[in-house]
Symmetry: C2
Subunit: 674 residues, 2 copies
């Protein structure tokens, strides 16, 4: 038995702080439990009442004669600890703490939360909250609405976790309208005990849960989240809204790699590489979950569009193409079969326009023909109800045909409001339906991407032999002496310790003989100004390349000296850096960091002077979705700028996604440090 | 008097083809006219009835004793021409042809449409349709619903034009829910006469129209559309969905510039430069129009967020930042004033979280304080109704306070469905409200961008002295000889004719002495293989740069010969192209084309080998919105890849937007052709 069963599968529930005043949380929760017909016993607890909601009330949980599995606590914050202590003594195994006034208010609230955690630990009680809106179970085994949501949830296969109670309410409301049902729902509040990862684990093999939805503000335990979600999403889709990544704090990080990783792009990379379907809004979340919860995954990306009106079909085709999917080419046989059943004015090329006379019979026949074409992987039937044709019949027929094929069918229904209320009541398990073609196209694209991801092999983990001690020694020494930029020599030492092939080089202080060093390195070579505070050397004319001989070298040195002096930086110079001239090649950037919010990350992309500005550009101008997907180009091949979360946080390269990077690096002969 | 007044301001309407059968178009239109209480006389025309809708019916329009301004024709297609002829003889000045079976079905339908146009011209009748869903006027002067829409439109300040009847229905339905009212509505169908540009012109100075909405599938007259929309959008916002740009046809164009211009990016460029607010979906259109129709434009981009729940505020802040707007920093005074009225647990930093106890009083006071802060340009109050707090009161207070300030207030209401129906009935002129924070943020961003655009000076038109005759002669000669790529000499002639500064150069055929040409051009120089069919020279090693002397030249020539031979292309070579070595600089690409769908376009961006692949990349991977905004980088400064529509299609540079480009070009000393 899972310890979370005490929360989600209780046989009896005590509502500590139940009341009778309509509109108060203590009344709405007990009312919701009764009206959703909890399949167990409900015990109101409140010393001021004899009975509540026609049910005998008890002064404390200890005075209840029967066993209590779950306690829902809605008393004022001052009484919560006492109530929890009572629960422990009573042998209660789960608590949902609705009451606010804990960590979220700081100060003594934080202390109170610590004490609450202590009590829960002492008695081995699992706890949701505090400061949450409650939990729901709506499986064949358990019907429990222990929330104060004003709208009644439907039963379905979505398990949903939210870090925001308010958004939880909004989601239950929006889900209702789109015929979206829940298996479980949990508002986790301050997450003093139960968090997103616990719930992911709990729902992983739950037979009633087909799709998992998350509203995340933070990854509490990025390593465990990554591990779990990667495993689960291979067989059960996870759709998430991740918010809060734009906070001013994230932008404060100042180094190049730091500022990138702190941004949106890191959250995107983590979620994408774990197969989590990320969406940008609650509306998209609902649309996505409706699609993933009620559709098989498509075998390919060829979309068939069926419509009774031109405009919406064009918009669907535009959206399909803009998401990178293909408009299916229908076979001759399919077109002939369509011709046989449709009026001559109809278009039997995809998008198939049946014109406005098409009713449920035509939708059924044409959809059947379309889905039986092996060149169609997914269908979007669009219906704009003309006068005289009843929308419910059309949706019913589309649903009936869709059930016969293992292909996703995402309907677009642009109808009067009342039909959106009627469908859930009248048609059992209707296909997912959307108000606008763009929503269906967005979901179609996500289904295709998820199919590709779900079939992607997990990859092999490779560990490289590296000399960590040498690298650590260099870094620690620098750290002890106050930090700052590493000298070129130190950088080369670190890189060499990690097995990177390097260019020949020498560092020459200002007074030293540069020619001798040059002879040792060998011509042709590169001369760079050196100085800890001179970071962007080429910007101030501090770099000369292609130096062929001693004469060149003298001239180059003079030019650099003149340039750096006229930039007012020569006083900061400590010497020159002489480097073997690298053969023409690809400049790349590679960065590794330990991000407090996302765990270990690796960055790889097009480097050199392009990097910095492109990356900033990127961060400033790109929208959320674009940021992690933009592809940089260098020469003939593409390098995707990626952030890879690294599997094990204690060092070493042990994550399969890094293999591609590592392989790319191996193609380079030498590394010329910038 | 405008000729379109016959359509939108008739004193009497004949419904030719009116019937009594519920659900038929002929009945629904007359029913809608009566129930929307048309302020004029309605004459049903149908020889089979004595009366229709309790009103005397006439056998033909000619038998009506009174004058008829507008005829709505719903008879079967075979009878339309006769009905139109009757209208002409009767002196009718406007027709709305609902009937289908014209150009859209091809063949004899096309012929029928030609004849219809002839009749309209002969009698000077303005005509909407055929194959449309009708027109609406809902101003203080005219109340006319001559459509068969199942839902009754509200009165408001949105004038809407749609090329798709089905989407017109969907828009009226969706608008209803968001409290969005119309001044005019026109479904233009086949646009045999009245098109988008006619309507833009008609609505430009209409006092009842505050915002114009368009669903476009094509620009019928790009030059006039550009001119008009540019002028109108300076004082009246135009929001448009432009669809159909992804059609396979657009992709067929093969040359670099051609393929780019045929794409999405061209539609985006045209609309953006005309100040038209482009959206990607009907849902966004409705959201945008609600915002633009009921808000002033903001003075800046600093957004204040007010909430009673953390989650939605975080999502709003994320979205605000991802659109490039700023989260306003509240003044000390503002924060102190907020502290004075809010509970200690509230956060008085932006986003201001009033926590869940906030009711209409707190919303009113806090919003007033926020809007009075000169550092706040625009406010997004978010309300997730907790138990016990009535949403209508909150929206009413927000509306009352918003009216006192010339700042946009975009509310987010995450409430039960019933409230969305109640607000339009209960609160007059409520502030725009949205279901999710992301929608409000999107509209906020559009308002800010539109403000910036509306204040952008129109720019000066500059004409350059060019030698068109010489250029035309070169092109015509090439054209007559079968087309293909121009030779380097021809290209230089054309460029010189347009006044571009050029590098010294010489063309040497295979047998000729290359050294002599090199001496003439002068060292250092560049040697390139030449041949009409060798387009991507550097890809096959056909370019050598930095040739310092004769010895270098010989070696370079040998290397090129070897490279091109091993690429199997040497047989296609006709000679060498010797060019002065250009100083290091910026490579740009410049293209001009006459696009059949968008008119004259100019493309400008980062050139060289980067261009081609980036541009393809761009076209393939970028989403709709991103495509025209991606900024390419070269060196230290940014070059925006832009498509500029050129004002006058008959040549010459006469568009103000080109000035920036022209100025950029002047910064280059020489042009080295790639």
């Amino acid at each position: 038995m899972n310890t979370l069963d005490a929360i989600f599968k209780p046989k009896s529930i005590a509502i500590i702080g139940a009341t009778t005043r309509k509109g108060s949380i203590g009344r709405e929760i007990i009312h919701n439990l009764f009206s959703f017909e909890f399949n167990g016993m409900i015990f109101p607890v409140n010393p001021r009442y004899e009975y509540i909601h026609s049910t005998k009330a008890y002064p404390t949980v200890l005075s209840i004669p029967d066993p209590v599995d779950l306690a829902v606590i809605v008393v004022p914050k001052e009484h919560v600890l006492m109530a929890a202590e009572d629960c422990g003594r009573k042998g209660v195994k789960g608590m949902v703490i609705i009451s606010a006034g804990f960590k979220e208010v700081g100060g003594e609230g934080e202390e109170r939360e610590e004490q609450l955690i202590e009590i829960a630990k002492k008695y081995g009680i699992r706890m949701v909250g505090p400061n949450c809106m409650g939990v729901i179970a709506a499986t064949p085994d358990v019907t429990m609405n222990a929330t104060f949501s004003p709208s009644t949830p439907r039963r379905g296969n979505l398990a949903f976790m939210t870090q925001s109670g308010a958004l939880g309410v909004a989601i239950i409301l929006a889900a209702h309208k789109l015929n979206l049902g829940f298996s479980y729902f949990a508002s986790v509040g301050n997450k003093a005990d139960v968090s997103a990862v616990d719930l992911l684990e709990y729902w992983e093999n739950d037979e009633h849960t087909g799709v998992i939805g998350l509203y995340l503000e933070s990854f509490d335990d990025p390593t465990r989240f990554t591990e779990l979600s990667k495993r689960i999403s291979k067989h059960k889709p996870i759709v998430a809204v991740k918010s809060g990544t734009s906070a001013a704090g994230a932008r404060a990080a100042s180094s190049h790699t730091g500022s990138l990783a702190g941004l949106e792009v890191a959250a995107d990379a983590v979620l994408r590489q774990c197969g989590v379907i990320r969406v940008g809004s609650i509306g998209d979340l609902i649309n996505m979950v409706a699609g993933f919860g009620r559709s098989p995954l498509p075998k390919g990306d060829r979309v068939g569009i069926l419509t009774n009106a031109g405009g919406p079909a064009i918009m669907a085709a535009d959206a399909i193409e803009s998401h990178g999917l293909n408009i299916a080419e229908l076979s001759t046989e399919t077109r002939e079969r369509l011709e046989a059943i449709l009026p001559p004015e109809a278009s039997v090329h995809n998008p198939v326009d049946m014109i406005s006379g098409a009713a449920s019979k035509e939708y059924a026949e044409a959809l059947e023909i379309m889905l039986s074409d092996p060149g169609v992987d997914l269908a979007i039937p669009i219906f704009v109800p003309p006068l005289m044709i009843e929308p419910l019949g059309v949706v019913r027929q589309i649903t009936a045909i869709a059930r016969q094929y293992e292909k996703p069918v995402l309907a677009v229904l642009m109808a009067e409001e009342k039909y959106y209320d009627m469908i859930p009541r009248e048609i059992e398990n209707a296909v997912p339906y959307y108000r606008f073609p763009e929503s269906a196209a967005m979901v179609a694209a996500a289904l295709v991407r998820h199919k590709i991801w779900s079939e992607k092999p997990a990859g092999k983990v490779q560990t490289f032999d590296v000399d960590r001690e040498t690298a650590v020694a260099v870094l620690e020494k620098k750290h002890k002496s106050g930090g700052g930029y590493l000298s070129p020599d130190d950088v080369y030492t670190v890189l060499r310790a990690y097995g990177f092939p390097l260019c020949r080089h020498a560092v020459v202080s200002l007074g030293q003989d540069i020619k001798e060093a040059a002879e040792k390195v060998g011509y042709p070579l590169v001369l760079k100004i050196d100085g800890e505070s001179i970071v962007h050397k080429s910007d101030i004319g501090g770099v000369e390349v292609g130096i062929e001989d001693e004469e060149d070298l003298c001239e180059a040195r003079q030019r650099i000296e003149a340039n750096v002096s006229s930039a007012g930086m020569f006083q900061q110079a400590t010497g020159y850096f002489v480097q073997e001239m690298a053969r023409p090649g690809r400049e790349i950037i590679l960065g590794v960091m330990q991000d407090p919010k996302f765990g270990p990350l690796l960055m790889f992309g097009m480097g050199g002077k392009y990097f910095q500005t492109l990356a900033c550009e990127h961060a400033c101008h790109a929208g959320k979705d674009a940021s992690a997907q933009t592809i940089f180009h260098s020469g003939q091949k593409f390098n995707r700028l990626s952030l890879f979360p690294i599997g094990s946080p204690d060092g070493g390269c042990s994550c399969s996604e890094m293999m591609e990077t590592a392989e790319s690096l191996r193609r380079f002969d030498r590394i010329a440090m910038g």
